[in-house]
Structures are given as C-alpha cells and as structure tokens.
Assembly symmetry: C2
Homo-oligomer: 377 residues x 2
C-alpha cells in the first residue's frame, strides 16, 4: 500500500474513527485503526465491537485531489500512536507506505516507522441489508439525541434502561429514555421509504458518540435498522451500533393524562432559580428542593440544610391554574429536563404531591419530560 494524502482530511477522519476506539478492549487488534486504500480512496475503521465507525476519504472532492493512490492495500496501525503522529506532522501532505506490515509515514523531514498488524485479522463490520431505510435531518437527529439520552439509567441493574427506546408508529419516530426516576420523550415526523415498524433500544453511549461525530447541518442522515444493529449513514461516515437486548418497559401508563395544577413559567428564570435553590441542598438530602405555589401567580422554591443554611427563591409565573401545591423533587432532574426543552416558556402539569409530573414547552407536545417527586412534605 502506498498513498499521498492531505493531512487535514486524514486528521479529521482519524479523529472521527477514534471515537469508537477504547484502550480497554479484550480484542487487541481493536486498539488499532484499519486503513484500506482502494482506487476510490482511503477508508479508516475504528471499533470497540459495540460501536464501529467507518470514515471514507475520497480520491477527489470538489475537483481537488485529496488522496493520490500509488498502490492499493491495507494495514492496521496502533490508534494511540497513529492519531498523535498525524496531528503533529509538519507538512500539509503526508505519504504512507506499507511493506510487509512495516509502515513508513513521511512528512517533510520527518519519518516514522510503525509496526503494523495484518488487516485480515481485523473483525468484519456487520453486513446490513439496506431494505428498511428512513431519513432524518442531521440537526433534528442531534436534537432528538440531546433531548432524551441524558435520562438513561447509569446503573447496570436493568441493562435495557441504559439505552434509548426508539419506535416508529404511523411515520412518527418516538424516542424514550428513563432511569425510573424521570423520563424523557421526543416525537418526530420521519421520512420512511417503507411501511416499517420497529421497537429497538440503542445504547445511550452510542447515541452520545454519534451526536459528537455529527456536524450541525440539515443534510439527512440515513438510518438502517436490523434485528441487532443500527447503522447511521452520514456523508463519508458510517456509524454502526449494536442494539440492546430485552423488552423496553411500556412507559405509556406512567404518563399522567389528567392535571390538577397547571403552571406556565419562563424556562430560563425557573432554571436559574432551581439552580440557586439547589446550592445549599447539594450537601443535604440528595439535592432535593421544595416547590410551592403562593396565591395566583407566585412560585416559591426553597431548600434547607440545618448545618449550612437555607435559601428561598420567589418567582412570578405566567399563570397558575388549579389546586394549590407543595411538592419536592430533585433539582438535578428538573435542571436536566429544562435544559433539554426548547422555547422560552414551559408548562408544568401536576396531579398532586405524590404523583409524577410533566414538563412541556408551551404549545409543543413533541417533547415531554416527566419527573417523579420525592416524598418530604
């Protein structure tokens, strides 16, 4: 294998595939990056066997030569060293030459010799038939991820809860995450080419890495789902993730349909007041704040830890309808939920101090955040 490549594109591709690579793998060759040069260009692959990322660098783009292939071939190079080396090379063009696994990287007066590994030993990526494809604009996909993935469970006691449940119902994609103390739900219209339905669970970690690798623009991402894999196809990038096994719990019955107290409040002011009220709660009972309505339009948020002190925040709400309310909840869960919502005003629907409550952006039912209260009053 021998090719000359633009350093900038090589660095970007290496950075992308590095997101799948971990040094804590039990399969030694997965600490490497697979590099394959064909007449069409260069393909890099990184994998930790749960997530696999393939990045393609085409021979030419926008009538500019990016790679000059002199001899096709393939090699696996230690990711840790290769990624640091390419970043620090002195010139904008880099030559890579492989003979008998010995790899020479040349750039200006700098010459690296790396011991490579045989690419035949590298695990094959899953073969995915592309029958069931649907598309989502990249920026919408990133939003969907950000608005749900924070609510997945970090505990392995119920592994299926460490993922986000994705299902398609009537051209709607519905994404749900819950750690059984709070729940995040996001719906979006999608553009599907078949009348497919599915109900899968994608590891939260995979979605976080996917979000990091995608740029914020409105080009569509193609998504292919199989029995145990999901593939996201963006420009020059293939992102594979395994799916979690097991049935995701039915969360529909958790979401209250009635409301006894409805409050509309400025999202930013509310977030900041909760943040301040939690400052003295942090040391006390698991970051819990008290919330109560006062009269027709005032909300009081407070916390008290005897050894430190207390804080009282007052907030004028846009409106309070229904019963008076005193309730306690985790300030962290509320802040996570408020940060995930779009829009300047949020609507909170309570059905009593002991029941889960629901937060939506005002006039937007595509996002829903649900929080279970804490019993203290």
């Amino acid at each position: 294998m021998k090719f000359i490549i633009q350093k900038e594109q090589l660095v970007q591709s290496v950075q992308d595939v590095m997101k799948a690579i971990t040094s804590r793998t039990t399969i030694p060759i997965l600490t490497g990056i697979k590099i394959v040069a064909t007449e069409e260009g260069v393909t890099l692959t990184g994998s930790d066997s749960d997530i696999s990322i393939e990045s393609f660098i085409p021979k030419e783009e926008n009538e500019t030569v990016i790679v000059e292939i002199q001899r096709p071939g393939s090699i696996v190079l230690q990711a840790k060293f290769f990624s640091e080396i390419v970043k620090k090379l002195p010139t904008s063009q880099v030559e890579l030459e492989v003979d008998n696994l010995q790899t020479v990287i040349r750039s200006g007066k700098s010459e690296f010799n790396l011991n490579g590994l045989d690419s035949e030993e590298y695990p094959h990526l899953p073969q995915i038939s592309e029958e069931n494809i649907f598309k989502i604009p990249t920026d919408l996909l990133k939003n969907i991820i950000k608005q749900t993935v924070f609510a997945v469970s970090t505990s392995e006691t119920r592994p299926v809860l460490t993922g986000v449940n994705w299902k398609i119902e009537n051209d709607d994609l519905i994404c749900i995450a819950t750690d059984s103390h709070r729940l995040a739900l996001r719906k979006a219209k999608i553009d599907a080419n078949t009348e497919q339905t599915f109900n899968i669970v994608i590891p939260g970690k995979s979605l976080n890495e996917l979000n990091r690798i995608l740029d914020d623009h409105n080009e569509p991402v193609e998504i292919v789902v199989t029995e145990n894999q999901i593939l996201f196809k963006a420009k020059h990038i293939l992102f594979f993730s395994r799916l979690l096994e097991g049935n995701y719990p039915d969360t529909n019955r958790l979401i209250p349909t009635e409301s006894k107290t409805e409050i509309v409040v400025n999202a930013k002011e509310f977030l900041q007041a909760i943040d301040r009220a939690s400052l003295l709660a942090r040391e006390g009972r698991n970051n819990v704040v008290k919330f109560s309505t006062i009269g027709q339009d005032v909300i009081e948020i407070s916390s008290f830890t005897p050894e430190i002190g207390k804080v009282v925040e007052e907030l004028v709400s846009e409106s309070i309808h229904g019963e008076e309310l005193k309730i306690s909840f985790s300030a962290k869960y509320m802040m996570d939920a408020l940060k995930a919502l779009e829009g300047t005003e949020v609507k909170i629907n309570f059905t009593g101090a002991m029941r889960p409550f629901v937060i939506n952006p005002l006039n937007d039912d595509s996002i829903l955040q649900l929080i279970l209260p804490v019993r203290t009053y």
Copy 2:
C-alpha cells in the same frame, strides 16, 4: 454588619481569595472566607496557612460607588457555598447582612441564610514590616515565574527543591529552580529602595497561584521579604506566602562555563521536532530521544521502541560549531525549557555527551536552561 455591593466586584474578589483556600485543611475555619466591612470598603481573606490572600473592595472607584456600607462588622462564611452563591445571584447588586453570625444574602427575589463563623477565631495574617521593599512590573514578574517554576522538584525528598530560590545581588534578582535533573535560571534588574540582599526559597505552589491571580500589565508589584514570609502587593491584592526553610544548594558550579559544541536553531521548529520524536519514546525509556549532529548544519533527532517503531527527524540548524556530538536527553525537559525561553532562535552549548548542557535565547543571557543528559549512547 450590613452592606450593599456590586456583584461583579464581589465575584472577582471571591475568586481571587479562593485560590488560597483548600478543603483539605486541618484548621476548619480556613475553609471559610473572612469578610470585614469598614468605612473604607470590604476586605476578603482566604488562607491555607501557607498562602494567604487578601482582596480589598474600595467603597468607591473611578467615582463609581461599589459598596454602600450600612453597618461595619465581620464574619467568616463557608467558601465553597459562598463562592457558588455569589456567582449565581440574579441581580447586579447584592445585600449582605449579619446578625449574631446569621448571614442573609439578598439579590432580587433570592434570599440565602448562611450559618457564619466568628471572625475572631480566624488566624491573623503575618505582620510584615515594610522596610525592605522592591518593585517589579507585573508582566515581568509573571514571566520570571513561568520561566523558572516548572523546573522545581515535585518530590518531597529534598523539600527545599520544591521551591524557587530568589536572591538579590547588585540590584539583580536571580531566580533558580532545579529538580536535580534540569535547572532553570532567570535574572532581572529590579528597583530596590535599600541596599538589601537576601537569599530565600519560595514554594513553587505559591508562585503558581500568584501567577494565576495577577493580570498581565506593567503596573509594578511591590515585594516585601522577611525572615519567613514574602508579601506581594498588587492593586487591591495582598498575597502572602511562607518561605521554605533550609539552604538552597549552590548551583553555580553546575553550570558549565566552557563549550565544545555550539548549535543555533529555530526554537519553534526544534520544539516541534522534539515533540514528534518523543511520540514513540513515551512508552519506552522515560521519554528519551537521541540527538546527533550530521555534518555542518544538520541535526537528527530520533527515538526507537522495538515493539512500536521508530522515528527520525531532521532539522537544518542555523549553525553548528565545534565537535561532532551524539547525546540523549529527556524530550519532556527539553520541551519545557524551549517553551520557557523567549525569542525565535536558541543557542545550545554542549560540553560532551555526559555533561549537562545549556540552552539560551540567542543574544540573551538573562535566561538559562540547563539539562542533564541521559546515558544511552
């Protein structure tokens, strides 16, 4: 005590004194910030008993009222909570009121009650007589610190080496740091009001914190030295540090006066080549690279780790005078030294492969970096 203060100035002062405060203190009251309000303004103090920082907020500055003192007094508040609270308060004016150690902080509709501690319990700062004062412009002081402090020892086996040796000789301030593998020396002309001489050792940690707290401008810092304390006086800030006990070794005899090979090289190109050559050395023998002269103007830097690979860097130097040379040294020490030097070109003087060598900026003897080679050739 009761006063109304501009939030911005309060936040800045709290941030400054926080640099002296650690939660790992054996004196509980030192986890607090002492706040004293007088007719002149508000003084905050933080200390870990090695470093003490006092920040003064004047009643007025540039004809703008900053503090409105309603009742003088003093209190000690938990630094961790107080610093987080002031940062997050909603309005630009903050009211602070103390009654019987109970402290109320008010800002808009936000009200915090904090349990305070009696300021009488707070240790007194050292009393320093201001007889022996000298001055350094702030930006020069910051440079002096940055160019030496990285070379202090991190090991406690010889505590005196964890500090930087400062001495005054003939209106020259001479600052030296060494961990016995490398040495950094910086000289600077100072403006002293007496014919004082001293020879002290300032903890490296203190100098790092001082550098962080000082802004980069050329207003002078006044420096007062006593037997066991040093005080830096900047605008509205007093920075006290204890001195290290023990005699600092005489490093003069370590610095070679003759030279067998003199090399002049572009500092940035040399730094980058060393950086790349060290990439494959990192896993091997303690980050050591080989350096050799080739002919009249070429330098080769290389490293080799059998299980990973090798790297060879060539660099055209401005000039090579004297004997041919092959030497090995720590890439990290060389990079630290090059980053500390000013100027585009550096001069390196070797006296053989087994002897310490000296790096200077070309035509500037006020800075000197010395590195001991590693025996490998």
